[in-house]
Symmetry: C2
């Protein structure tokens, strides 16, 4: 009895992949069909050509892409980011100016800024005292007197709107392996906060308190501790249900445990100590900005590796989604940012209220955690939507488009497998699998704040553009 005969004599069980028509006609004749929704990457002529040229580069050995990616990956995973000190943005951040506001994502002008970013800019103007009221603030923002610049152009990252103004206190993180530095501001909490586009009196007052009380207190404690090992905290947190983007409860807890005794030793006013500790305790996302700066410090060491297709930045300004690639210098590849299709909204809000994807926080996915490590954080689905099984599948999928696994950051449930790390532009395009991001969602209007959290794929367009630029440069 041949195998084929066997097949046709046994009951037919069909798994149909792709076009539904086959499944439909089989079902119509009474067969059981499991349908898997998948379509092969739809390549345009330009992408097909780019993939062909890519193979020519590989064959011609004009540049050793594999070796370049190995080097980029090695630099990324061997980074040792340490929080060393705090200071004012104007004093610490390279290229910061007294009339400059940093923002998230790729470059964007005032007229193209989305609602929450405009809101954050207005809030920052009020915070700096550059205007007395909202009307004047808006005039100033439009006037051209303020210089807008992406955080990423200044070794910095900011969540959501990512607006950093000159007086704002920032953390300085040093990558002890390679010496490069990264900067980020302090996390304000959830809801009505500047980074989500809110600018009301309470928002500005909180920022002022953070500058005058929280900053000097933390600053002294960090100095007293001789710095804080962020890599160690993040590695522990992934064993404790965090993924380092939208779930930071464990990392915030570990940071709190390290900071508290030092704060007690370096700040004598017990009311201040109590309020500072309660502020951090009251915000499970306090570690988020540090997770992002950990990612930034790790990835910056892997920039400008000749011939590498590894992504070193994914960032959103709420209008555009942009990436940068190690072998392609400082060029941005952008496409329109999308509203997360799957999300959980806070009571009173719906998808109609949501701004498209925004923030530098996708630097965590770029570095191999956040959405890429979501299988380590099953409880996150109560905040972002989805199920634990979907979370596991998402992480597994990301191994398809990454260069390696970071054994420092592990997914316990996948038997301590290292997280999928180092996005390969070519793999993304060729396999048609976009990087997966879990993200906070801001209201699309300025002045409101966060409305939910959700799951989103990076737009394929930016990876196609990057691949085309790559083969153009290296052919």
């Amino acid at each position: 009895m041949s195998k084929v005969n066997e097949l046709f004599k046994s009951e037919l069980k069909v798994i149909n992949i792709g076009l539904t028509a086959f499944a439909d006609s089989l079902r119509a004749t009474g067969y059981k069909v499991v349908h898997v929704d998948w379509s092969p990457p739809a390549f345009g002529e330009d992408v097909r050509e780019a993939l062909d040229k890519f193979n020519e580069i590989v064959i011609s050995k004009k540049v050793d892409i594999e070796k370049a990616n190995e080097e980029a990956f090695k630099r990324l995973v061997s980074a040792r980011p340490k929080l060393v000190r705090m200071g004012k943005a104007l004093d610490l951040i390279p290229g910061m100016k007294s009339n400059m506001l940093l923002h998230a994502g790729p470059p964007v002008t005032w007229d193209r800024m989305c609602g929450p970013m405009k809101g954050a800019v207005l809030g920052a103007i009020l915070y700096e005292g550059w205007a007395e009221n909202l009307e004047d603030a808006e005039k100033l923002a439009q006037s051209g007197k303020i210089e807008f610049s992406p955080c990423h152009h200044h070794q910095a990252v900011g969540p959501m709107a990512g607006v950093v103004s000159p007086s704002m206190p920032v953390f300085e993180i040093v990558n002890e392996t390679y010496g490069n530095k990264a900067y980020t501001n302090m996390n304000e909490g959830l809801g009505k906060v500047l980074r989500m586009g809110a600018y009301s009196k309470e928002v500005i007052e909180r920022l002022k308190w953070m500058e005058s009380v929280l900053y000097p207190t933390l600053s002294r404690a960090i100095e007293y501790l001789g710095g804080i090992d962020l890599k160690n905290i993040l590695a522990q947190a992934l064993h404790m249900g965090d993924e380092g983007h939208n779930r930071n409860r464990a990392a915030t807890s570990i940071l709190f445990r390290q900071l508290a005794p030092a704060i007690v030793k370096t700040t004598s006013d017990t009311d201040v100590v109590e309020r500072v500790l309660k502020f951090i305790d009251g915000n499970d996302h306090f570690f988020l900005n540090l997770s992002m700066a950990t990612a930034k410090a790790s990835l910056d060491a892997a920039r400008n590796i000749e011939g590498s297709t590894m992504v070193v930045v994914m960032a959103r300004n709420g209008t555009d989604f942009g990436i940068q690639v190690s072998g392609l210098g400082d060029e941005w590849f952008t496409a329109p940012a999308e509203v997360p299709p799957n999300a959980l909204y806070f009571p009173g809000f719906t998808k109609e209220d949501a701004n498209p994807d925004i923030g530098d926080s996708s630097i965590t996915e770029t570095a191999g955690w956040g959405g890429f490590a979501i299988a380590a954080a099953p409880a996150i689905v109560q905040f972002t939507g989805g199920t634990p099984q979907e979370a596991i599948n998402k992480t597994k999928m990301m191994y398809e488009i990454t260069i390696g696994e970071n054994t420092t950051y592990q997914v316990p449930y996948l038997n301590f497998r290292g997280t999928p790390t180092g996005i390969d532009v070519k793999a993304v395009v060729e396999k048609g699998i976009p990087p997966f991001i879990d993200t906070g969602i801001a209201h699309k209007m300025p002045g409101i704040g966060q409305v939910g959290a959700g799951l989103v794929d990076a737009p394929m367009e930016v990876f196609k553009k990057a691949l085309i630029a790559f083969v153009k440069k290296y052919s």
Copy 2:
């Protein structure tokens, strides 16, 4: 074509359960066989008879066992344990005497005590100042002048040796739903500690510091906070990779976050505050004793439900393993304690050094977490041995022998399924599935301390004895 014909025409795929002989002969003729190693519970005549009588009770409706178990389960899961205050054991623990030492597990006399329990008793005598040196301490222990009594006879629980002496500070936990109270001492940390049988100078000095500095500091903070909701902390911790027995890093972190601001407000000496915070931060098991008292306070409310087969205590004294059952009053059912067959030992130690299973900490499994919730804590296998998949399987198995699921304590990876809760003596015996415990391991000699952690099954014997006693009482 009939179904049977279909079956025989298609390729034969066999799953063989039980006797290997069938699998072997099929394999010999070329078939693929998956063999599952399982054997039906081997009942002795007495157990078979007990199961028959049990069914007679059910049919005769002499007592409504199902309803009794529902009530016991309801009481267990509706408990709201809150940490309300601290005090000296002699002042707070019911029935505590000035010449009494409490210990873990079922009753045991000095001559039958295992090494680590003897070590802890000697340490406690030195700590109380009842003897000046080890020799005198041993004489006193043998003299009969000290009254030994199980923690469980005094609404108390203690990990490992579980020795509580009159001057020792203890936590008082109130079950706010039912008003009953539970007590436990403070956790000393890992390694050379009294509860593991160590009694050196550093051990006694640490206990003295805990009494004179840590206790009053924590006591003031707890009062300032108006108590601490332990149920809430444990529920969060299970979303953060703890299981509440051998992994308490998350719960300790959350407790730390709540305590720190209150300690700052209520203790003016910053050196003391710093040292206290560092002590708690330095011991990821600090919450263990509170997890145990949470379990004890929850289970005590479910005691003495007429007709209930639910286990309300599982406890080990390092010599005997004992259980108590809701419908069987204060009677202990005991069997020899076993050395955990699967364990990870600290460097320099092996299974040869291990004492048999010891401690009241299996109260956590009795209440539905610990080993029963190990699927929530995949990273624990790095401490106890095993793999994350085995951990998931263990939790799944425990649903077979439990009355219900506690929706407050969830396993995120099992799609937030409530933990398997309320061990049913009859199900354990009938299905031949023993309750699963993850546990610390003490050196078998007094004076040494912890040597590892591992996984162990409760001995079936105690459940058989309890079932026989149950049918005797209710027939």
